[in-house]
């Protein structure tokens, strides 16, 4: 197989604006962005709490969170699968093989990254800001909004890393989504499927589109962060 046919396939996909292809791209983005958003809503406060709280076993929790950043997507998928299966504890929700299941699995993957990065950043900021904020009566939970706001650019980097991990993974979404055509088929599961069908140019073409998308989002975020940090110092 030659690489040029992969580029041709990628080009054809982008130019052709095939509705099925757009649907796949749309679902991938929707699932991953929702997962990142959810992970941010849950992980940033948790990470902030972990940065400021002092309790026995805290080092163990930090090590655990850091280790979970390497959680294999397949394992995350399996856990969510067992939870959501009709025979599992949350089976009654009927979420297995739906985009919701994929969002949950990806949230699980992104969460440790967000928590760990928030914890690291805010702990550093807290060290720097502690006396001033204490002087203003902002201790404990009251300090968190200031730390998060001032850490927004660093935290954005963490969310981007999370986005990268979620958008690139195939193991978890394949298990919990089922790769159902037109419903839970994402870029990565399509790539796996096309590889399986031996259509390597199309698979690689899809891969190129995924890379371009990731590049675009990263570049946009990087640009916004550069402009933003110029104003924030």
């Amino acid at each position: 197989m030659d690489v040029s046919s992969a580029f041709a396939a990628a080009f054809g996909l982008i130019i052709g604006l095939d509705p099925q292809f757009l649907q796949i791209v749309g679902l991938s983005l929707r699932v991953t962005l929702t997962a990142v958003l959810l992970a941010a809503l849950i992980g940033v406060p948790l990470g902030a709490w972990l940065a400021l709280a002092r309790f026995p076993g805290r080092p163990a929790v930090i090590v655990l969170v850091n280790a979970l950043m390497g959680l294999p997507p397949v394992v995350a998928g399996l856990i969510v699968f067992l939870l959501l299966s009709r025979s599992g504890p949350l089976g009654g929700m009927g979420w297995l093989f739906t985009p919701t299941a994929m969002v949950i699995a990806q949230t699980l993957l992104v969460l440790p990254i967000v928590i760990a990065l928030t914890r690291g950043t805010l702990e550093e900021f807290w060290g720097e800001y502690r006396e001033h904020l204490t002087s203003l009566g902002m201790t404990g939970v009251r300090a968190i909004p200031t730390l998060i706001f001032d850490g927004r650019f660093a935290l954005a980097t963490g969310l981007l890393a999370g986005f990268g991990r979620a958008s690139a993974e195939v193991g978890a979404v394949l298990i919990v989504g089922g790769n159902i055509a037109g419903y839970t088929r994402t870029m990565t599961t399509s790539i796996a499927l096309e590889t399986s069908k031996g259509d390597l140019p199309l698979a690689l073409g899809l891969g190129l589109v995924l890379i371009i998308l990731t590049l675009t989002i990263n570049a946009a975020a990087y640009g916004a962060s550069r402009i933003g940090s110029r104003f924030a110092g």
């Binding site: 197989m1 749309g26 983005l29 929707r30 699932v31 962005l33 929702t34 990142v36 958003l37 959810l38 941010a40 299966s85 009709r86 025979s87 599992g88 089976g91 009654g92 929700m93 009927g94 979420w95 297995l96 093989f97 739906t98 985009p99 919701t100 969002v103 949950i104 949230t107 927004r152 650019f153 935290l155 954005a156 969310l159 981007l160 986005f163 089922g178 790769n179 159902i180 055509a181 419903y183 839970t184 499927l193 590889t195 399986s196 069908k197 031996g198 259509d199 390597l200 989002i217 946009a220 975020a221 916004a224 962060s225 933003g228």
Partner: protein, 292 residues
Amino acid sequence: MLTKRSLLASGFGLALTSSVLAQATLTAPLPAQTVAPAAQTRFITVSSTTSTTDSGLFNHLLPGFKAKSGIEVRVVSQGTGQALDTGRRGDADVVFVHARSQEVKFVEDGFGVERKPVMYNDFVLIGPKYDPAGVKGSKDIAAALKAIQAKGSPFVSRGDNSGTHSAELNLWRTAGVDIAQARGPWYREIGQSMGAALNTSGAMNAYVLSDRATWLNFRNRGDLEIVVEGDRRLFNQYGVILVNPARHAHVKKADGQAFIDWLVGPEGQKSIAEYKINGEQLFFPNAAQPGV
């Protein structure tokens, strides 16, 4: 907040995102039904085999059924063993697979209501063009397998408890080869889908048992070709089973049964017969045939 704002603003609006978000809320009453824009979609989940998906059959069949019934069929394709497991767990309404003994057991164990034959195709032995085991052109699959084992020519096995895998194991038995004993470096279990097995065989110049449909739809053939076909023992029967609502109350009995009835009825059977790649028919409907 940079990422939230800029990512969301980048063309994929909050509306899209929040609809998924809403589903993710644990309080949503009937989330599976309220999923995605098509909120009132009637759908069933079918667990089927990689061969039916990889061969493109479902892409051909489902639009016709949907137009007729208004029911969307969501196909999760897995190996037959895994597909039956999915049914056992209640995660599908219908299973559509190809391993008769496993299907019969599935029904006997009370997980399925009734097994109905749908169609057949056949397995083919695929191998490298230069044919190191010297089996090309034979119609005797047992002799061919024996020769492969005797010469120690590389052979790729699905190894994933799929329908094709269990057919392969049966054929070794037929050939009088005890694969548990005879296996060696030449016998490579990959534990993956049919397509992955074909990709692997191409890369290793190995023999591999494939269903004909997947082979015909497979693009990355390289130096592979059919070396043995036409043996009656290569027959590959597909069956369909409604998951037992007595076991899993949420199974969509009526819609699942409607799909099965359509599949084994004249319209479905005709549609199956019409699916061709390069003029070659992939599956042969035989719902009316007794005892398959």
